[in-house]
Symmetry: C2
DNA sequence: CCGCTAAGGGAACTGGGGTTTCGTTAGCGC
DNA sequence: GCGCTAACGAAACCCCAGTTCCCTTAGCGG
């Protein structure tokens, strides 16, 4: 049985909150690779034994942090048009990745996911939830007749985020609002052209 | 002056080749976070002092490995049509990322880039070269009249790769040939729609 | 082929990240 | 509010990644 599952109230919850906060701070300052659990314990004003007992490794700590982040997701937009909704989504992601704290945090959890299977699971579930949250934008557009009937909604949402994450992690090119808008427009154009229909693309 | 710059021949070159090979093997097996320089030295049958002296850190070693990988880049395709060239590019990237050795290696260098500024520089230059290699496909399509005159060629190429890397690093969704084709088609559709023109998108 | 010294290698050393031990605090059922 | 024990925490401990020391090998200019 996991530590903290039997008496989850009071001190246990306070310790968890303090440690996750401290872990976030440490990740933003040093990044995942230099995350020192003893340092996290010091910041949280908690015994380092506690951190090692409850979370074990840096990856375990990040996994729990991600579970915590997953609970506060922002609601999707509903502007009335596909391009409006996709732009809203792209700009939300853009602002998140550019924000110095949030951006560093996302880089850290993505790195953690490449190092640890549980962290990877948590990350994939995190994004599955986010994508599912925004998919109705596309489904509404289908119902309005803006898009082909069997358009894969999740695929369209993924297509909006992909260029932003590609720049963050791979190419290092700047991530500004104009490029977020282009990402939204590109996804919309491809969806209109029927590229994201579930059976097959147009011939 | 860097070690190995004064007598770059013979033993120095042999040691570098052996160490980079061993580093690649170790990265594929354990990933960047568990890269142990002493282990690399053992695999390369080289003194661990040598590895620490010449490369210093895991990030430094990966940076050099990336410089080595940059030298063998595959030539771009020339199928005669934009969609053909983009599909070839998407499938090349797809095969690379799915390949157990290459995929692990790319994940590792991307992780290294998030930890170390020099590694990040090396990675960004690596992708800038790859993108520049494939940009002429788009420029030819412009000349053929397939695309608007002021299409940003690099942006189109990036749009092809982005969904593949997004799945590799972020969402964890499968990366098969069909999805590579969709990525190519989506980029082509957006480019046709004028989303990637340098002045501004269509109104 | 000789000498200078760049580069490599074995071995001992060290510091701090992670573990173990055991005593203390406080959540929660009654 | 009482008692049981889950959970926390201080300190001693251990192990190994990374460093230092110093000797050996071999590239390369002459």
């Amino acid at each position: 049985m996991a530590v903290g599952a039997i008496r989850p109230g009071g001190r246990t919850a306070r310790v968890r909150a303090a440690v996750l906060k401290a872990a976030g701070d440490a990740l933003v300052e040093h990044g995942f690779d230099r995350l020192d659990l003893a340092d996290v314990a010091r910041r949280a004003e908690v015994g380092k034994t506690t951190v090692y007992r409850r979370w074990g490794t840096a990856a375990g700590l990040v996994t729990d942090l991600l579970a915590d982040m997953a609970e506060q997701s922002l609601p999707r937009a509903d502007t009335g048009s596909l391009i409006g909704d996709l732009r809203a989504n792209a700009r939300l992601v853009q602002r998140t990745l550019v924000d110095s704290r949030q951006g560093a945090l996302f880089r850290a959890v993505i790195v953690a996911a490449t190092c640890d299977l549980r962290a990877a699971d948590a990350l994939h579930r995190f994004y599955a939830v986010r994508i599912a949250e925004w998919a109705p934008c596309v489904e509404q557009a289908v119902r309005r007749g803006e898009l082909p009937p069997d358009t894969d909604a999740a695929e369209v949402i993924r297509a909006v985020s992909a260029p932003l994450y590609y720049r963050l992690l791979v190419s290092g090119d700047p991530i500004d609002e104009a490029m977020a808008d282009r990402a939204a427009e590109a996804a919309a154009a491809a969806a209109h052209a029927g590229v994201f229909t579930q059976t097959s693309g147009p011939d």
